[in-house]
C-alpha cells in the first residue's frame, strides 16, 4: 500500500435507528459506498433499526408523519396526506408503489445492499439491549453480526473519522 493510500484510509460509524423501507436506505447506501471507497465501516443497529438484521426482511413504509412525501404519478406528484394512512391497505399500497418505483429506477433492494455490506466486510453490531427489550433472538438475525452495547459503539466512534446517526 502506498503512503498516499494509508493517509486516505478513513473510518466511519453509523447508528441505525429506523427500520422502515425508506429509512433503511441511507445507512445501507452510505455503508456500502464507504466500504467501496476503502473506508472502514461499522453499523450499530439499535431500536427500530435492529430488525434490519433479521434474516427475512419484509420492510414497510407509512405515509403517516411524512408531509414531504410525494410520489411521481402520471407526470405529476401525488401528495400523501397523513389521514389516508388510517385507511386499511393504504400503507401496504404505498409500500408496493415505492418498491415498484425503486425497481423501475434501478435502485437496489435493501436485501441486495445488505448483502453487499456483508460482502465488503462492513462490521455490523446489534444492540444487545434492544435485542433483550424487544425479545429478538440472535438466531433470527443474519450471520456474521456481533452483539454489543453503547460502550462497544463508543469505542468504535471514538476512533472513527465520520460518525452518523440515522
Amino acid at each position: 500500500m502506498l503512503d498516499a493510500d494509508l493517509e486516505n484510509t478513513k473510518s466511519m460509524s453509523i447508528i441505525v435507528t429506523k427500520g422502515s423501507l425508506d429509512w433503511a436506505y441511507p445507512p445501507f447506501i452510505l455503508a456500502t459506498t464507504a466500504a467501496a471507497m476503502d473506508i472502514e465501516t461499522t453499523m450499530f443497529f439499535t431500536f427500530y433499526g435492529l430488525p434490519l438484521l433479521k434474516k427475512k426482511l419484509d420492510l414497510k413504509m407509512t405515509t403517516l408523519g411524512n408531509p414531504a412525501m410525494e410520489m411521481p404519478m402520471a407526470g405529476m406528484h401525488m401528495k400523501m396526506p397523513n389521514m389516508v394512512s388510517m385507511i386499511p391497505g393504504v400503507d401496504r399500497a404505498a409500500t408496493t408503489m415505492m418498491k415498484n418505483l425503486m425497481a423501475k429506477k434501478g435502485v437496489a433492494s435493501i436485501e441486495d445492499l445488505r448483502e453487499a455490506a456483508v460482502e465488503s466486510d462492513v462490521r455490523m453490531i446489534a444492540c444487545q439491549m434492544t435485542l433483550d427489550l424487544f425479545e429478538y433472538d440472535k438466531k433470527d438475525m443474519i450471520e456474521g453480526i456481533e452483539l454489543g452495547g453503547a460502550a462497544t459503539y463508543m469505542e468504535v466512534a471514538a476512533k472513527s473519522h465520520i460518525n452518523l446517526f440515522i
Binding site: 493510500d5 456500502t32 467501496a36 471507497m37 434501478g106
Partner: protein
C-alpha cells in the same frame, strides 16, 4: 495491461460504484476498467471515488444518455 468492461446502465446510486469496486478488486494494477452508466450522478461519483481511492480516472465523457468512464487500477 488487460482491459475490462462494466455495463452499469439502468443502475442507480450506489450500484455503479459498488459494481466497479468489485471489478477493480479482481483486476491487476495498471489494468483499465471501462464503464458505461445511465445514472447522471455517476459523473460526480466516479470522480469522487477515484480521488479517494487513488485509482486514476483516465476519461469521463457523456455520449447522449450514456456516461462513460475509464479507470486505471492503482
Amino acid at each position: 495491461m488487460a482491459e475490462h468492461t462494466l455495463n452499469a446502465e439502468g443502475l442507480n446510486c450506489p450500484l455503479p460504484i459498488l459494481k466497479a469496486k468489485k471489478m477493480l478488486k479482481g483486476m491487476a494494477s495498471g489494468d483499465i476498467l471501462k464503464i458505461s452508466a445511465t445514472d447522471p450522478g455517476s459523473a460526480a461519483d466516479f470522480a469522487a471515488f477515484c480521488t479517494h481511492t487513488g485509482n486514476e480516472l483516465l476519461n469521463s465523457a457523456t455520449e447522449g444518455d450514456l456516461y462513460k468512464f475509464e479507470i486505471k487500477r492503482s
